[in-house]
Homo-oligomer: 412 residues x 2
């Protein structure tokens, strides 16, 4: 059995036992996101630095005592997490910074951070006896769910906006998901999947609706902390759509603070695209989330109604962080800069955090010697059409060395 | 300093010291591939099971004593290798087999096994004082080289056939490589890059020309062996283009045999597409490689003149293995089967090995209780257009639950 104490509504404070509630707070409706609370006292006796030192499981499951899992036999075989935290020497030199780290989440099984949430959800569904899981997604949550269900023999039913990038759709179909391409936005797909959950009795993985997605995602923070030997960074830059990932990052550090592994929280910096910035506007303004019509190249964070927005705003403010907006051009330039100076290929939503970092550095919001982690949430291979807009064409040559010499001269 | 004893020509047996030769045997020309020979006696004193047990480096560099590296300070930051070896429970159940394992090489930094070779080559270039590296490639070797050079601040000059999949071209350009899209085949691009090496003084990474690519690639075998606790599999299925990867797999097990870690070699099974099978034809026939005009969807193994062909044929025969040909349709079906029953998304050349495994199993060439490892060489995100040919379209719906119900009924 896991160490979950209760699920507590972020809005009204009502507490529930695990088996009393499925998704959001029954009193507050879909706004009433539930925080998963743990029995830290019990966890402390098991989860120690010695425990980690002797733990040879280099995946997100090395943090099992901190996860809401009651039946560990249902954990799937895909190796999720323990992605690299790079010290990016060429970028450091170029920018004149000494303490920059990049967490490459594109290295997960289906190439995004979302695999962490899906890995947990697949266990939770089985714990309540359900073998059919649905979700709405801009793409990554869906492909992670479809991959995770395929690996354990469950079924997935996915609602995506029909304009989702082709690579993400392809992943879904290869993983054998039943894919509904919705003639509408992500926000409409989201509502539709909730209706389908009620209609068909499927288990629902939706981000910011299912309380356990944040718990899966927090493992990225646990890893960052351990990879930095529990020396907490000053800032963590996170691309924000629904606000679920940044909430997970907060939760991971919050757990470690309560367990005495760290002595302070890092400041969380939310980065959004200028064309879709409800969370950043709320954080930097009056704290109120106001839905928008999204307009950005970064599909994974093109979320007009951020479902974990209230939670994200609360956590970002509590951490002492702030929000930054970047343009689509800055996002594309960040893909190119990051790729050509580190070998890390980010999708647009993945590089948004890095674009925000560059902006914060240039504007003086953070200092050159601050210790900073930038999380790259997804691999660029998931959206090569956008990446192509960031780069120049190749040099077309005939298969002769003379042509190579001539063309090389022209480009210099 | 590393433990390389000499480089020995596969054709004439001439031996050279490391600093006496750059690429192939000067006496035998481009056919004269050099085998890297090690001082196993010295390595044995350092590289032990105890050494591995205490080694917390979970990347290909945990095998440093077995690699041809003289200046370890030049190793790049990207975390290459230690990819998952899965026991794929759903596939095992479906096929009624008990000892199947899948090695997912799509989890490497640029999403293919080639990262292992590029990681070594980037060090070797710097050891001889060169900062410009060139290669010809069907795509993956190139993107791995471009990523590796970007991560350490070197330059890459890449020759690819102009019809290389878009995702691979995009990776190259994002990593800042100078990309020559050659109006010709991979084989023409290969020759062109050799000319360019002479013309411009660049270091050359070409597969089956640079003797160190096999050494990088052998780390996949070292990992498989360690992940199986040195209990050698009966068969290893490998997709074959140039023949360099399967040569690397042989070399890794050969090293371990000489060091006393294992007591026998696994049988190596080369899998090629029906439309491009010079290595398989040689292995199953008279041993002579005869160039072909390639015609297959599997671009990464679409190699008419296999540059490591002689080496591969020798090694496969010495292992007691054989060759299998599969159709493009079998390759596409294997992508879908693998994805939907394991959550592993393979590119066409990546799934070719698995298609060969299915064929061998169905034909009785191997038995259900044989211990088998299938290596998936690259991630399907690198070629989604091909994958789309393997799957059905999504179900297009309007954002109403009624439409979902109707469409779902129609598809059942």
């Amino acid at each position: 059995m896991g160490h979950v104490k209760s699920l507590k509504c972020l809005i009204c404070g009502s507490e529930y036992q695990e088996d009393e509630v499925e998704y959001t707070c029954p009193k507050c409706g879909n706004e009433g996101l539930l925080e998963v609370e743990y029995d830290y006292g019990t966890i402390k006796t098991e989860f120690t630095k010695e425990y980690l030192k002797n733990n040879k499981n280099y995946s997100m499951w090395r943090y099992l005592p901190l996860l809401p899992i009651n039946d560990a036999s249902k954990i799937g075989p895909l190796q999720v997490g323990f992605t690299p935290l790079y010290d990016v020497p060429i970028i450091r030199k170029d920018l004149g910074v000494r303490n920059l780290f990049i967490k490459d989440e594109g290295r997960n099984p289906t190439a995004s951070l979302k695999d962490r949430a899906s890995a947990v959800v697949v266990v939770k569904a089985q714990e309540v006896g359900l073998n059919d899981i649905t979700c709405a997604s801009t793409g990554n949550a869906a492909s992670s769910l479809a991959g995770a269900t395929a690996s354990v023999g469950l079924k997935s039913y996915i609602f995506v906006p029909k304009n989702a990038p082709k690579a993400k759709l392809t992943q879904l179909l290869v993983f054998g998901a039943t894919v509904f391409a919705v003639n509408g936005t992500y926000d409409e797909a989201f509502d539709l999947s909730i209706s389908a959950t009620k209609e068909f009795g499927w288990y629902n993985r939706n981000t910011g609706f299912n309380p356990y997605t944040v718990e899966g995602k927090k493992t990225v923070a646990l890893e960052i902390a351990e990879q930095l030997n529990f020396d907490v960074p000053d800032y963590i830059f996170v691309s924000v759509g629904d606000g679920n990932i940044i909430s997970g990052v907060y939760k991971g550090f919050f757990d470690l603070l309560n367990l005495g592994f760290i002595d302070r929280m890092p400041k969380l910096i939310a980065v959004q695209a200028e064309g879709c910035s409800p969370v950043v506007d709320a954080v930097n303004g009056d704290g109120i989330i106001r839905p928008v019509i999204p307009n950005t190249i970064a599909d994974s964070i093109s979320v007009g109604i951020p479902r974990s927005g209230i939670m994200a705003v609360k956590y970002i403010k509590e951490s002492g962080g702030f929000g930054i907006k970047v343009s689509d051009l800055e996002i594309l330039n960040a893909i190119k800069y990051l790729g050509s100076k580190s070998g890390i290929f980010a999708e647009p939503a993945g590089s948004t955090s890095f674009a925000g970092y560059l902006k914060a550095l240039n504007s003086g919001s953070i200092r050159k010697d601050d210790k900073v982690v930038v999380i790259i949430t997804g691999n660029g291979l998931k959206d090569v059409d956008s990446a192509m807009r960031a780069v120049k064409e190749p040099i077309y040559v005939d298969p002769t060395i003379e042509d190579v010499k001539n063309k090389l001269k022209e480009t210099k």
